[in-house]
Symmetry: C2
């Protein structure tokens, strides 16, 4: 009926260490323990851990994820706060996507230069220019 920490590690791709670390940081307050003190993860727990991983993948800080988890634990009264938090994260993701698109353009621009037949010549000319600029700056 429940999963051990090892099984959850395998299912999520997180290490056992990381899961325990997350628990210590207050990200997993919903995880129960058995008589021996072992963590017992339910299917629902896996679902919210999945959400935690999703937020993590968008570079949300652990302290902010804890805030979200706390809202979830607090029940429906915090829906407004959850919307605010997720909307802010949504905006961050959109911004990051846009930035990545621009970064990609620059990388492709560089790759095009390097992969062109005139690459060696282009680079040598650039190096010459840099050299002259450095020389000129010494005056």
């Amino acid at each position: 009926m429940t999963y051990t920490i090892k099984e959850v590690a395998q299912k999520t791709g997180l290490s056992i260490y990381t899961l325990r670390f997350y628990d210590k940081q207050g990200l997993l307050p919903f995880v129960m323990r058995n008589e021996a003190g072992y963590r017992t993860f339910t299917e629902s727990d896996l679902s919210i851990i999945h959400t935690i991983c999703c937020l993590k993948n968008t570079d949300m800080k652990i302290s902010d994820i804890r805030q979200y988890v706390d809202y979830v634990m607090a029940g429906s009264a915090t829906i407004g706060k959850r919307i605010k938090l997720l909307s802010a994260q949504r905006a961050k993701v959109l911004a990051k996507q846009q930035q990545l698109t621009e970064n990609l353009k620059e990388i492709d621009y560089k790759l095009n230069i390097y992969q062109s037949p005139e690459a060696v010549e282009t680079i040598n000319q650039a190096r010459q220019y840099v050299k002259e600029e450095k020389q000129a700056s010494k005056m």
Copy 2:
């Protein structure tokens, strides 16, 4: 003809501390010094710092950026290595973009639930289910 570290900080958005840190890490071997030992940045320096920032924004590690800078400093003989390095980074960016798109879908899915008129009801039902699942797991 050249820029001070403060001016470069303003132009790039990096802090003076960060610029000096990057220099210490070997990311700025091309920056010259004046008689007093002050760094003097040329226009070309700004250009490669821009590239460094671009790679940084795609989460490339400083040690890998240093590798790239070293290749650039070494001249046209390293074009093949630069292509390999940038191509690998390109693949990483594409993967990250795809992941962000998926994360965004999940965030939007959650937001839809929270913003629907039945949000409170949906959440209370989910909480009830979680509760029962936890109860059942105790047996």
